[in-house]
Symmetry: C3
Subunit: 328 residues, 3 copies
Amino acid sequence: MEFTVSQIAELVGGEVQGDKKAKVRMLAKIQEAKNGQISFLSNPKYESFIYITEASAVIVNKDFQARKPVETTLIRVKDPYSSFTLLLEEYYKFVSFQKTGVEEPSFAGEGSIFGQEIYRGAFSYIGKNTKIGTNVKIYPHTYIGDNCEIGDNTIIHAGAKLYNNTRVGSYCVIHSGAVIGSAGFGFAPQEDGTYKTIPQMGNVIIGNHVDVGANTVIDCATFHGDSTRIDDGVKLDNLIQIAHNVTIGSNTVIAAQTGISGSTTIGSSSVIAGQVGIAGHLEIGDNTSIGAQAGIGKSVPKGNVKLMGSPGFELLAFRTRSSRIFLI
Amino acid sequence: MEFTVSQIAELVGGEVQGDKKAKVRMLAKIQEAKNGQISFLSNPKYESFIYITEASAVIVNKDFQARKPVETTLIRVKDPYSSFTLLLEEYYKFVSFQKTGVEEPSFAGEGSIFGQEIYRGAFSYIGKNTKIGTNVKIYPHTYIGDNCEIGDNTIIHAGAKLYNNTRVGSYCVIHSGAVIGSAGFGFAPQEDGTYKTIPQMGNVIIGNHVDVGANTVIDCATFHGDSTRIDDGVKLDNLIQIAHNVTIGSNTVIAAQTGISGSTTIGSSSVIAGQVGIAGHLEIGDNTSIGAQAGIGKSVPKGNVKLMGSPGFELLAFRTRSSRIFLI
Amino acid sequence: MEFTVSQIAELVGGEVQGDKKAKVRMLAKIQEAKNGQISFLSNPKYESFIYITEASAVIVNKDFQARKPVETTLIRVKDPYSSFTLLLEEYYKFVSFQKTGVEEPSFAGEGSIFGQEIYRGAFSYIGKNTKIGTNVKIYPHTYIGDNCEIGDNTIIHAGAKLYNNTRVGSYCVIHSGAVIGSAGFGFAPQEDGTYKTIPQMGNVIIGNHVDVGANTVIDCATFHGDSTRIDDGVKLDNLIQIAHNVTIGSNTVIAAQTGISGSTTIGSSSVIAGQVGIAGHLEIGDNTSIGAQAGIGKSVPKGNVKLMGSPGFELLAFRTRSSRIFLI
């Protein structure tokens, strides 16, 4: 992939000042960009880098006034940051959606339906009556159970496992080793001290533009007709635990190794750092920030707050309100 | 799966009051049950729901006296909770054990032996001299190494990995991405500052009725003849770390993302919440409750205690008593 | 595998005192060794065991003076600990490198190159233009993407996943379910509250003699030409998170469930206990010890320190220094 500066200027609706034929292959931050790369200047704090950058081109605001000589080629646009993220997006599509076709052996159950332009890697497994959208990329060793639905333009990396009845929207990315729809952790204690497993019969519904990190686990809901829900635009990092019947609101971002216990609802547009633990049956409001390693044992539904510290959450919060059925 | 109320009454030995021909397909909590579902009333605290429930039937105590009109059909039994868990169990068997037969391609090494009624999914791998019991369900992408034993009626979900010599009992459920028998973390420090890997030659022995959650890891014991041991009835949630030579006593329940370091023994009938860390070479007694995110650095062998807080455990506990061989 | 005491004495350059024809099959600690096993005595603290051990042979210092009758056979050497670790190493090679050949079905992309004596398990997948060294063992369900390089004598256990462009050195062990090269967690926030995924175009470079534990995740670097780097001799336990652009210096050991955020550098010869969280963009010096469950929010570059406690790290450390691009 190699473009001329003038091709890029056309894509972002910008005006070139400098070498229109300069070639760029990669995107980079301005403080790190090298020859053959393109960057952007949006925050004035980084202005000094534009006078020393080795980047072949830099996207700047159309009103940018250089206070020293600039050697790199400039592309002047209305909003450099938006233009750069547009390029990111185009580049992403370019690198992500090249693979098509079916590698053998691969397995597709009865009644499964496939859209156009899909890739099914060797040793991938699709169950019965599962519906795969257009331009979906299913890497090797992926398991997708029966009665699942995968929306258009979604990428499922090698070895992700989706249990029966899972629904994933469009433009999602599921990374390697992620497990979606595993049985929630629910047991009925018996008088003899043993537990009977409570069958987990619900599913997981994932919206559009959701990323699920490597080896992250999302359990299915307990009862039939219920769903663990990950809404549009949510970004989940690696090794996260999402228990049964949790809801994560749209555009919430969660960092690695955080765990959310059963039936808790997280609002939208929240940012949860790494290694956080959140007890079950809580409500966390919109626009909530939670610091790394925090333990949250009570509901904080009002939103627009920052939560930190590691008080350890209360033992009682660990059991459900139901007196005898034991669901974590 | 659809039953009449009278069929269910027969199964649980109850007496019907209402529509014997009403049909039920699902089980649900009384506060959430809908038409076509069956629930139970055991705790008097939930009595109010029986007057408003949409459930098609509710299992109640034979002495239950309604204080308001009841519209749902009642099934009167001696112990409603036991009857409901019996139904759970029957339902669970029904949904879990439908698959049989071998999907191709799948791999079975020399000398491996299979019981009746098993399911072996496509791309599953069974090593040499491995013995698989009756009615075992092995989902796609499962890896079971050489010289393993899997007991009757056990389910191994897609992509679980069992190293050589692993033994799993009957009626177990191993979820996707679980790794059982990986090498424990042991290294011999050398004078030049490097480490030599200590070969891990023991195995893992898992009892009956054990659940292992998605992406949980259980390391094998260090020396040949030794085992990391998960006893009967233990329930392990997702993303748990169980190090080499650990023993977990029967009917102990451990929530997600907890880690137990090498050679520690956990008693039976204990409840360990999520994100707990327990140092190595400790003894934790029976009936111990440990709160979420706690760090346990000392032995608490007496049992029947509740442990909370996050003191962080001591660095020394992190090394073994052996002065130079380094086993975490 | 069974050797006579005189064969072992020859290997370690020792002198036998006792039964030269005694047979040993296993290695064990002196306090646990049984008949048919060999052990060593290096630390005088363990001397008492040599008088009661059931071991068939014990490696001791050439100057060792017994103060009581010794029944076991002795092998006298210059440095018993070094001799024992040499045996460990030989044993490890013996048990690890027996498998050779290709089990079918397995997949190898165009242009992939394989050394001698390799093992490729059934359902293993090798992408295009990938180079596999001599004596490499690739277990079933392993995924190795395009343009990867795997050095000689490396073992990749069942179901490990290596994304495109990953490089792994010689004598490494990658355990089951490990994911190497997954996309780092980076998103560009948009004015409407959504995030655009920042394409992650770098790779992961792993040195020689590195162990990566089961279900551990190592993300690739963000920009093309950059690498997340795990240097020679590093030992990573299970379920660890290593974010994009992290560097781990040589001979550093990290225990289970620890997480290291993006762009942090860890020095060499450090020991990090389990469940530690380290924020992003930090520098941790050489020979640093970090206690279990600690939260590290600031750089500690000087080295030779012990860090403990769980202060929770600062929220700001959770974002990058770049003002608008959001990389955890």
